[in-house]
């Protein structure tokens, strides 16, 4: 149970490495978790081979949502957009290293939802993007 607030999560929450807004950017998306009021914005720069050269996030919310955004953004540096499309919820849980109940899972997966909606170029983020 104490894992939920393990040092890694608190550290990424308090001192995120990839907090910021890229301007100009190639991909930009943002969304809220209406349940908690968590907000995540992700901006990406990609090269001509659709490889991510830079990624950053902005937002506010609980430790789980913000730490998972920082860890996720860190993990996608250098990945191609096709690789990002393959990411699923297990990837985020592995990054956090914890199991989560249904309510907090939404906090943890907000950043992945935002990322994939942006990469797919969707108008609106949907839970289906992160359900598997």
């Amino acid at each position: 149970m104490d894992d939920l607030y393990r040092e890694l999560i608190i550290e990424h929450y308090k001192n995120p490495l990839f907090r910021g807004h890229l301007d100009p950017n190639d991909i930009h998306f943002e969304d809220d978790n209406p349940l908690c009021g968590d907000h995540i914005e992700i901006t990406l720069r990609v090269d001509k081979d659709d490889r991510i050269t830079e990624a950053a996030f902005e937002g506010h919310g609980c430790a789980i949502s913000q730490a998972s955004a920082d860890l996720l953004v860190e993990s996608i540096q250098g990945k191609t957009l096709d690789e990002v499309k393959q990411l699923d919820k297990q990837v985020v849980l592995d990054l956090l290293g914890i199991d989560l109940g249904p309510v907090r899972l939404k906090c943890a997966l907000l950043s992945l939802k935002v990322l994939k909606a942006g990469v797919y170029g969707l108008g609106e983020a949907s839970d289906e993007l992160v359900e598997n």
Partner: protein, 415 residues
């Protein structure tokens, strides 16, 4: 009133023994510290048993049956209505309509009285501290009927600004709809004064009693309020049932709400005539067992006395506010304790309310985190969410101590 004869101090240990859930451990060795009664209250054994007995011995559909069970069920359902009427000092039980909850009570008024009486351009006055349930029904109606909405502002210390209200009244609103007690700030609004001023300006009034009716004495005749809505589940009763009180002449003239069985007198293929009050507004089979439970919950509260309940909560909230403000980084919202009920919403610097709530949960402390269905109010204070601890007749100061200890643990984890 027999209030003066009653003891004004509550034997909390005795009360707690009436609530089976308060004995449970949320995890082995971790007792429940339930500080979330503003969301829903716990239920005493007598309420649980009354509904159980209803299903074991009396269950039948009400009103038209002539068999013994139907007569018993009808009598129990109507007795519950009588009990609820007594609680709020309604002149007659037929002025108490059973609904699903406060939300449905407010929607009922919006869909019937307001649709029949409001014209494009008419003004409804609300407040900035409303729960979404006393906001969204009026927004829907306003966009449909081209009505105007204005809001009584909330001051920095969580009180309604009555001077601004008086100015709004000069615009001649048709309805003033407001909460008697804020579910976030705990503020108890001066309902009598607000209603009196509204009437002088020619407006009707609707009171959201979801938080007030469970916690303080509410007398509809003394308030002279036109409509009052409240929910059973926040006052020791079951979910799925609430009530709407209305003045007789208003209810009489209002068109029905939902159509169906029970709300009719006669039905032909193309027409119907409405049943009498309160059945006109109770289409379909209602929540009968829940009504019975509601009645018993009201009886339980009246036996203790709402004055006594309020006095106890006053004592607990005063203590809670004193303890909370001691904690560095804690900011409590709402007025000082003399203007509020047992609600303490706060933020802790550097920690999101969800994390606060989650860490408190480890010690069995149940609080709520979020915007508590009052998003505009949180926006006003410039915060996305708060952590809310709320108190009822079964809460003890020792539980406030546990909350405070828990908050210190949160600080430790995040430092």
């Amino acid at each position: 009133m027999t209030a003066s004869l009653r003891s004004t101090t509550l034997d909390v240990r005795k009360i707690r023994a009436d609530f089976p859930i308060l004995n449970r451990e949320v995890r082995p060795g971790v007792p429940l510290v339930y500080l979330d009664s503003t969301a829903t209250s716990q239920k005493p054994q007598v309420v649980i048993e009354a509904m159980d007995t209803f299903y074991r011995r009396h269950n039948a559909n009400i009103h038209r049956g002539v068999h013994v069970l139907a007569e018993e069920a009808t009598a129990m359902y109507e007795a519950a209505r009588g009990q609820v009427a007594k609680l709020i000092n309604a002149p007659s039980a037929k002025q108490v309509v059973f609904t699903r909850n406060t939300t449905e009570s407010i929607n009922l008024v919006a869909y019937t009285w307001a649709r029949a009486n409001l014209r494009p351009g008419d003004l409804i006055v609300l407040t900035e501290m409303e729960h979404h349930s006393n906001l969204v029904p009026w927004q829907i109606l306003a966009s449909e009927r081209d009505l105007r909405l204005e809001f009584i502002p909330v001051s920095e210390n969580g009180l309604l600004e009555l001077d601004a209200y008086k100015q709004l009244l000069e615009k001649e609103p048709k309805l003033v709809a407001f909460t008697q007690m804020s579910n976030v700030l705990g503020t108890i609004n001066p309902a009598r004064e607000i209603i009196k001023l509204a009437h002088e300006a020619g407006a009707l009034t609707l009171l959201d009693g979801a938080q007030s009716v469970p916690h303080i004495p509410v007398d509809v005749q003394a308030l002279d309020v036109d409509f009052l809505g409240f929910s059973a589940h926040k006052m020791l009763g079951p979910t799925g049932i609430g009530a709407l009180y209305g003045k007789l002449d208003l209810l009489d003239k209002m068109p029905p709400f939902m159509g169906g069985g029970e709300m009719i007198k006669t039905v032909k293929l193309r027409t119907f005539s409405s049943n009498e009050l309160p059945h006109k507004f109770e289409a379909g089979t209602p929540a009968i067992a829940e009504a019975v439970g509601f009645g018993v919950a009201v009886e339980y509260l009246m036996d203790i006395g709402l004055e006594t309940v309020a006095a106890h909560e006053q004592e607990v909230i005063e203590y809670a506010l004193d303890r909370l403000v001691e904690i560095p980084g804690v900011r409590v919202f709402g007025p000082e304790s003399k203007h509020k009920g047992g609600v303490a919403s706060f933020t802790l610097e550097g920690v999101h309310p969800h994390d606060v709530a989650q860490i408190l949960d480890r010690d069995g402390i149940a609080v709520r985190a979020g915007h508590h269905c009052a998003q505009p109010l949180h926006e006003k204070f410039g915060i996305p969410a708060t952590t809310r601890a709320s108190f009822y007749l079964y809460n003890m100061k020792a539980e406030v101590d546990k909350l405070v200890e828990g908050i210190y643990k949160v600080k430790e984890i995040f430092n």
